[in-house]
């Protein structure tokens, strides 16, 4: 079967750039496709190297154990869900600084709603469903608000989502439940968080994986995805082609908020409580994951598989350094270095690619 390459990959891989009409271009194409091929896979290489390095350095090689896989994958869930939405946003040339705050806020509101329902002796299954619905709808609503302000008031995404981050993360969330964790939750929440499928995959991991596959297909195989790239690549051209850019952007930000709501529930299931601290600074890790995965903050470039690799690089850094008894602060330093390094290599690659 013919594999459809995403826009970011189309000029390389399975389908080499055919020679242009003159010899000079033939040479250039050969160099380009070599550079492109390197560019598409080098982060995967970094991931494998990190895996080996941490695995060999850790005592008794316990990185390569089931327990360690469960840890890393469970830890990656919230970043992956945020990074999926962030991938779309960044490909349009925007940014969503609010998704970590939305995660925390929706989790807390949902927790309080469920606690209230339990106190009035509601059915625990229905309460759980109501909790999920609350978080997801609220997340979508905040995302819609972000998108609406960005497109209708023509405000930069950075400013609008920074406002949301501050208002919801630093402002509203600590006011809910007096700033305390909500621990009185239906038992189903804990069950979802602890259930393993076939002994290897947490339900929460499955949720993130399904979201990833579905949204990856949307990004790379549907009209919605194609137009997402088009807007980030040339917004004027997209408008002239008849794309309703503003509507599209509102949908993209709504989706990012919705996924942050889902992430809020997944975090709650993992910890069996709703914490006002959940999601803090997650947006930075999500953005880092997307950028490490090869997306351009200028828009037009990015890939769902790259985002997955970027997310696991960050998750591996955290868990790997914990295994080596390195403090959490060093993990932040390492993430920073990888992030800047990834962008730097990407820039060099692009400069090589441009005549």
């Amino acid at each position: 079967m013919n594999v459809r390459l995403p826009p970011a990959l189309t000029s390389s891989g399975a389908q080499p750039v055919r020679a242009g009409p003159d010899g000079e271009e033939t040479q250039r194409s050969a160099l380009l496709s070599a550079v492109d091929r390197f560019g598409n896979y080098w982060m995967l290489g970094v991931f494998v190297l990190m895996l080996l390095a941490f695995g060999l350095a850790s005592p008794r090689h316990d990185l390569f154990t089931r327990a360690s896989w469960l840890n890393i994958s469970q830890y990656a869930v919230e970043f992956l869900l945020l990074a999926i939405g962030q991938t779309f946003v960044i490909i349009t040339g925007g940014i969503d600084l609010s998704d970590g705050a939305v995660l925390g806020f929706t989790g807390m509101v949902s927790g309080v709603v469920m606690q209230g329902l339990l106190n009035s002796h509601a059915n625990t299954t229905l309460t759980t469903v109501a909790g999920f619905a609350t978080a997801i709808l609220l997340g979508a609503a905040i995302g819609f608000l972000n998108g609406y302000l960005i497109t209708r008031l023509r405000l930069p995404p950075f400013v609008v989502t920074l406002g949301s981050l501050t208002a919801f993360g630093a402002g509203a969330t600590p006011l809910i439940n007096g700033g305390n964790e909500v621990i009185n939750l239906p038992s189903q929440i804990g069950t979802i968080g602890q259930t393993l499928i076939a002994g290897w995959v947490y339900v929460t991991v499955l949720v993130a994986a399904v979201a990833c596959v579905v949204m990856g297909l949307v990004l790379h195989r549907t009209r919605f995805g194609l137009r997402t790239y088009a807007i980030g690549s040339n917004v004027t051209g997209a408008r002239r082609a008849g794309i309703r850019v503003d509507n599209h952007l509102v949908r993209v930000y709504t989706m990012s908020g919705l996924l942050a709501g889902v992430a809020g529930m997944m975090v709650m299931c993992n910890f069996t409580d709703a914490s006002p601290l959940a999601g803090q600074n997650d947006e930075l890790n999500a953005i880092a994951a997307v950028v490490i995965g090869g997306a351009s903050l200028f828009g037009g470039r990015g890939h769902m598989l790259g985002t997955v690799v970027g997310t696991f690089i960050i998750a591996l850094l955290v868990t790997g350094l914990v295994l080596l008894n390195v403090s959490g602060s060093w993990q932040q330093v390492a993430t920073g270095i990888i992030l800047v390094g990834a962008v730097a290599v990407d820039q060099v690659r692009l400069r090589l690619a441009e005549r």
């Binding site: 826009p7 970011a8 000029s11 009209r223 790239y229 051209g237 037009g300 690619a353």
Partner: protein, 253 residues
């Protein structure tokens, strides 16, 4: 019957009269140059024909039928395609994606409702379109941003022609190109016109328009002052009309 006929178009911006009643005809198979000095009203006329601006009076007819459009999208639906100076291509998208952007072909069956793209049909369509306009690009899966200026121009033209336009507007098509690439775009313009889509070429490049066009229409102070056959008029003649010297007068305004 002209493919596109423009009659008495006027447009003013506040007290500035940009167009004072422009008449213009473009016939089947023709390449017509639209030339004039800065401020003569070229861009205003282009923007009106491409639907970005609305005239205050006057009519535009396509195949004899009066048309009007409130947006560039409507102008396109009525058969006027514009190749903008910046080409409007998305550099991060492939050739076929650029050609089909905004008019994507969707898969048949239930996936259609999810907006699933029929990639194979679009790749084939793009290849056929480019072949028909005798444009050679190599692979239609190449990224538009990786192609040469001439090739990019070719895609923009190919895209416009592919969508069954009645007339093609080209705004400064060779402004950013080297000599060799200009030649290629020239060939392209001629081949498009000979295939039945007349071209209205808006440009500053007089030697080029003299070589390429059948006729040139000179705009001077918001009027189409003369219609020259390129086989009969020289570049110097064009210059004297553009500057107003041929009118034997010098406007003070």
């Amino acid at each position: 019957m002209p493919v596109i006929a423009v009659r008495g178009i006027t447009k003013h911006f506040g007290s500035v009269q940009a167009l004072r009643g422009v008449d213009l005809d473009v016939h089947q198979g023709e390449v017509v140059g639209l030339i004039g000095d800065n401020g003569a009203g070229k861009s205003t006329l282009v923007n009106i024909l491409s639907g970005s601006l609305q005239p205050h009076s006057g009519t535009i007819m396509i195949d004899g039928k009066p048309v009007s459009f409130a947006s560039s999208l409507e102008a396109r639906r009525q058969g006027i395609e514009t190749v903008y100076q910046d080409l409007s291509l998305a550099p991060d998208l492939s050739v076929w994606q650029n050609i089909f952007l905004g008019r994507e072909e969707l898969a048949k069956g239930p996936l259609r409702f999810a907006g699933w793209l029929d990639r194979r049909a679009m790749v084939r369509g793009a290849e056929t379109d480019l072949e028909r306009t005798r444009i050679r690009i190599g692979s239609v899966s190449s990224l538009a941003g990786r192609l040469s200026g001439g090739q990019r121009q070719a895609i923009a033209v190919g895209r416009a022609v592919a969508w069954g336009s009645r007339v093609l507007l080209m705004d400064e098509p060779t402004a950013a190109l080297g000599v060799e690439q200009q030649e290629k775009v020239g060939e392209l313009v001629r081949s498009v016109a000979s295939q039945g889509v007349p071209v209205l070429l808006i440009t500053h490049n007089l030697p080029q328009v003299h070589r390429l066009a059948d006729r040139v229409v000179v705009l001077y102070h918001g009027r189409a002052v003369v219609d020259l056959r390129c086989s009969e008029a020289s570049v110097d003649d064009m210059v004297s009309w553009i500057t107003g010297a041929a009118l034997g007068e010098h406007h003070a305004s």
